[in-house]
């Protein structure tokens, strides 16, 4: 017999977002291990935001803006597509999107793991601050804009201006990159980096050869204002 608690079933067709989020917030403290199935999300915005418990949440369907925003500790699986800003400002835990994600996925995330099994639209990982993001498909333009810390692994292609104004985040892309943004350059892919990519792919449960990725990061030319580089700002 398993000691796991019975999963709670919450149907958004018959309930509302407020009561769902309120109930999930009540898990903070002693809700570790709780399992919830959330049905009929119907593209609603701000579902499962502000989690602060090590709960396991499964959302069955498509979600709107900011699903799992500011997540701390919870492991959230979205069995569908996600609207803009999925897992924005995540602190820890994990969020998995089984479908595609709209723009600004993982924006300003400070920790945890975001996995997108499909494609991610523009600005994936914008302003990321420590989060790890693994995208099995491709990412749109301006991804990792002003990315400060963390890793973005893209198994497909990257759109224009990847890593524009990037700080210390590390980008690994397997397919072609349309163009690199200001101050973003290709860097050597060492064994240590292949190992890191392997670890991130394994954690994400995504199959790809770590040896087939290229690495991109900051040239650090914009770190202190220099008039001779003013046209790059």
């Amino acid at each position: 017999m398993s000691n796991l608690p019975e999963p709670v079933d919450f149907d958004l067709a018959g309930g509302d977002r407020r009561s769902l989020n309120r109930s999930l917030h009540a898990l903070a403290g002693d809700g570790a291990g709780a399992r919830w199935n959330i049905r009929n999300p119907g593209g609603r915005h701000a579902l499962c935001v502000g989690m602060a418990a090590e709960a396991e949440l499964a959302i069955h369907g498509h979600v709107g803006y900011y699903c799992a925003g500011m997540n701390r500790s919870a492991n959230i699986v979205i069995h569908g597509n996600a609207g803009p800003g999925v897992a924005e400002n995540m602190m820890s835990g994990s969020v998995r999107v089984k479908g595609n994600a709209s723009q600004s996925a993982g924006a300003s995330g400070r920790g945890g793991l975001l996995v997108i099994e499909g494609n991610a639209s523009a600005r994936c990982g914008i302003s990321m601050k420590g989060i790890d993001i693994v995208v099995a498909g491709s990412v749109g333009h301006m991804s990792a804009f002003m990315a400060q810390a963390g890793h973005l692994v893209v198994c497909g292609e990257a759109g224009a201006d990847l890593g524009d104004s990037i700080y210390e985040a590390v980008l690994y892309v397997r397919g072609p990159v349309a163009s690199l943004g200001a101050d973003c350059v290709e860097k050597e892919m060492t064994d240590a980096h292949r190992e890191r990519v392997g670890g991130l792919l394994a954690a994400a449960g995504v199959e790809a050869d770590p040896g087939s990725f290229r690495r991109y990061g900051s040239a650090r030319r914009l770190y202190n204002f220099n008039v001779d580089r003013a046209d790059e700002y």
Partner: protein
């Protein structure tokens, strides 16, 4: 040829190229880069000085100064929040980052605001424990950079302020220069030590009012609809921006006029972008009135507020409260004639300093240098700021009583006259001695 100085009677300065303009062109030619500085606009602008309060006489009765009460309390966030902010005075402290300001300054501000029963505000870079501990009512800013944004801090604050823009640089991002980035500041912002920290001008996960509405819903959901959500805009297209903030679901709108200060921005931006606070208040009030939301969505005005008369005039035009940035730092000791040799080392004088961006603040306010910081004792700073806020409140009450008001929020445009045609047009109050309001 004689080397004698010229006869000064025949020296004629150019109106288009006066000495400061010539000096700036020389500087730009030498350095090839724009000037970045702190403080706010230094140019002459129409201000609340161009308005006068009409005291009572026969047609209205004044209240007795020392016997009749004149209330000052104000509630912010009555629209949706379950826990609106109850302020004892309509004077709050604006957002200033820990990073731009040192920890002692943040603590002093928190202590003074708490003693006065009013709120203070975090800034770019997040919430420091010192600040939370010292501040009874703390407004937590959500800025485009999202530096240090933490859901635990969101839950621990008393109100949330979504910053769309700032009066000193509407439409512009920010820059905390590398010289101010210590290990602690860098850690809070997830960046390396000693590099320039650029702040974006747009939020990373929303653009436009429709997205903002959803963003505000998210913030409310995270905080279980307990806290007021403010939206702060830099004064530019004020009428539209205020209306859109209301539509997006704000409990309160903060309008920051172009006299608002900054820790570091291009001088050209500070002096040439935005709209002065005076017309911005009126435009914001009109927008709220058109929507039937005046006094339902509270209006907080900032940018160059200096004394109780400024507060009284802003309230008379329809604001619910004001917010102080630069003036609160001056009360702490900014530009005070102490450590004069250190002002000189920065190439300035007390009274002229705008060198917050250097990190070498002579009086220990806008610095992260441990030695300089000791020059500001939190208790002493708090005492000064408290005295200043007390003085402002007394001034405000004095003027409100003289206008016959038992609550400062009862001040109204009819209590005002303008001394310049410009101010009459901007504030839409009559030119003094006439019934004429330009444009009507």
């Amino acid at each position: 040829m004689s080397g004698a100085p010229p006869d000064r009677r025949w020296l004629r300065a150019s109106a288009s190229f006066p000495a400061p303009v010539i000096a700036e062109i020389h500087r730009a030619a030498d350095e090839g880069v724009y000037d970045i500085r702190g403080f706010g606009a230094k140019r002459h602008l129409p201000t609340f000085d161009d308005l006068l309060l009409l005291g009572a006489s026969m047609s209205r009765y004044p209240l007795e100064g020392y016997r009749e009460r004149c209330e000052t309390s104000v509630t912010i966030g009555t629209r949706f929040a379950r826990r609106p902010l109850e302020l004892a005075i309509p004077i709050t402290i604006a957002g200033m980052s820990f990073g731009a300001l040192g920890a002692n300054a943040k603590r002093a501000i928190g202590m003074a605001a708490s003693a006065m029963g009013t709120s203070t505000t975090t800034g770019d870079g997040g919430m420091s424990p010192e600040e939370r501990e010292a501040s009874k009512l703390l407004v937590y800013q959500v800025l485009p950079s999202r530096y240090g944004l933490d859901p635990d801090h969101l839950r621990a604050c008393d109100a949330i302020e979504v910053v769309v823009g700032q009066g000193a640089k509407p439409g512009g991002g920010g820059m905390l220069l590398g010289q101010k980035i210590t290990e602690r500041i860098a850690g809070m912002r997830d960046l390396p030590v000693g590099i320039d920290q650029r702040s974006a001008c747009r939020h990373p996960d929303w653009t436009g009012p429709d997205d903002l509405e959803i963003k505000i819903q998210e913030l409310r959901e995270i905080t279980d609809w307990e806290l007021p959500v403010y939206v702060k805009v830099g004064a530019a297209r004020v009428g539209f921006d205020v209306a859109l903030a209301v539509k997006a679901g704000a409990d309160a709108v903060v309008v920051d006029g172009m006299q608002g200060g900054t820790a570091a921005t291009q001088d050209i931006f500070i002096e040439h972008a935005g709209v002065p606070t005076l017309p911005a208040v009126r435009q914001a009030v009109e927008a709220l009135q058109e929507l039937g939301m005046h006094r339902k969505v509270q209006l907080i005005v900032s940018g160059g507020i200096r004394h109780g008369a400024d507060v009284a005039k802003a309230l008379a035009l329809g604001a619910d409260a004001v917010s102080l940035g630069t003036a609160s730092l001056i009360a702490l000791g900014c530009n005070r004639p102490d450590y004069v040799e250190d002002y000189h080392a920065l190439g300035t004088e007390p009274g002229f300093c705008h060198h917050c961006h250097t990190g070498r603040c002579p009086v220990g306010i806008t610095t992260q240098d441990a030695d300089l910081e000791t020059r500001l004792h939190p208790e002493q700073g708090a005492r000064r700021l408290r005295n200043y806020l007390t003085t402002m409140t007394l001034e405000l009450q004095t003027l409100a009583r003289a206008c016959g008001k038992s609550h400062v929020l009862n001040l109204e445009p009819e209590d005002l006259a303008a001394v310049t045609v410009e101010a009459a047009a901007m504030a839409q109050v009559p030119l003094a001695g006439t019934n004429w309001i330009p444009g009507r």
